[in-house]
Symmetry: C2
Subunit: 331 residues, 2 copies
Amino acid sequence: MRRLTIGKLRGLQQIADDRGVFAMCAMDHRGSLQRMINPDDPGSVGYETLAAYKEELCRALAPVSSAVLLDPAYGAARAIASGALPRDVGLLVSLEATGYSGESGARLTRLLPGWNAAKTRRMGASAAKLLLYYHPGLPDVAARQRELVQQIVEDCAQADILCLVEPVAYPISDEDRDPRTFARRKPDVVLQTARELTALGIDVLKAEFPADLRFEQDEGRLLGYCQALDEASQAPWVLLSAGVNYEDFARQVEIACRSGASGFLAGRAVWQEGMSLADGSARRRWLETVAADRMRHLRDIAAEYGRPWWKKWGDAPTELVQVGEDWYATY
Amino acid sequence: MRRLTIGKLRGLQQIADDRGVFAMCAMDHRGSLQRMINPDDPGSVGYETLAAYKEELCRALAPVSSAVLLDPAYGAARAIASGALPRDVGLLVSLEATGYSGESGARLTRLLPGWNAAKTRRMGASAAKLLLYYHPGLPDVAARQRELVQQIVEDCAQADILCLVEPVAYPISDEDRDPRTFARRKPDVVLQTARELTALGIDVLKAEFPADLRFEQDEGRLLGYCQALDEASQAPWVLLSAGVNYEDFARQVEIACRSGASGFLAGRAVWQEGMSLADGSARRRWLETVAADRMRHLRDIAAEYGRPWWKKWGDAPTELVQVGEDWYATY
């Protein structure tokens, strides 16, 4: 049985709701958010604009989330400094730099220089998150990515902060570039990825939906893929939204939660259309109404079907930690 | 104007209510709690009993508090591990060992071996607290105590965690041992202590009421003492209860909050009578009813009269922090 440390347990309590289910909103986007704000010239979207958009997102959506995910450069500190993040909403902070490096189509994650898990802990956040392009079909690249995960798992253990990892599959061959082929291969890729990464001791897996609703609609098969993903994952898992449209995402969340997921960490599916509204007050109104309603609805689905995170590891959260007389001295 | 760092600001948000006022419950007692549980043989009250009493206190009173103060040996980790501490209630953890050392009546604070501010941060707490016997009338001893405060202020800065200091005056002469004399000297002692310790850069002062209601009942003079204390303190301050009876403490909280205090951090005045109930279910019922009602009532007084913590330092909390483009790299 997995043993939890006190800092990680407190973190899980803070990012989940009272029942132990996650209803989290991601707003740590950088490059993709710049493209939404100004598709013609994303590079012209500077610090102040990005930071202001993120503050708006946080102010509108954090109050209807159990936790929010922000990046350290544009979002996390501003959310605290501005008061946009309520005192009782958990905070996750990303560790990676935006984009990736690599040759011949391989994608390698780089950490954001000047940022780390220890700083994430110091600022009062509850979890560190690592986005990871990952494909088990490229063994050498995958091995290097796993090394990075191992390093982050150790850094997080040192700071006793949660480590949430978000693997994202990508096309690694010309065949893969055909969406239908990529979709057919997706369940295997997502499951194998979950198997390989959760074996490294991460605390929460942020998983892709293991199918593509454009090509697979059969409810029984979709539930089967998600149940297989649940078996493949040694850690509690939440669903990411990856920019699918909101209706599809809501369906995915229900299927995933009925199959063992502990909730969701949703980004663009909740708020993407609003980012193209150039008028500030129209944009804020949209976030406070349409996007907030989406979060509430997703939260209700997760509350109804989601499995409390601790059930992955035991019958009760109290079983997972041991505190004895010398805890403080040996901690 | 005082500048706040992000970890400390998040901590203040977490231990205060939404308005920025503190309604906190102290349950970090060790020696004094053992004496309450078994007055005849306090030393026989062992780890399991103390830990279980603290868990009961936390379960009953944390839900009606903005934050709770626990000690690292018997309370803090257990409160998290057992689920007795709600996810949205702040946690303060004490740094000192119980009791004191010193010669010829002088009292020197010792830190709890094996515990420190960095561990307090790692476990997910929002503040570290140092209890300090202090009397400005013993300059050499006071200087050594201030050195300890300075060290803790630095440790807390390193971990970017709040530093709350609780000075407690004590009799330093035979004359002082006459309660009436001690009471007459108390306003000066409490004010001078506040002046000397808040100059060291602590974040929150946990202050004694600067008078003794047994010998001073005049409302105008009591308000005057508290206003002078408010002027003497460079940090936001909260009132401690020091085992006075509940009715007196409620009156003290109102007077202090009308004079600039930002709330209270109450221990024995809220729950002491319950600790002598040997029957577990009677004790828990008493805590859940009488003691919880007391916390609610004190919280209402603080909410009505208390000054938001940030008003000590500026017109709005957002003024107190600066977050720019390179924040994450220089943090």
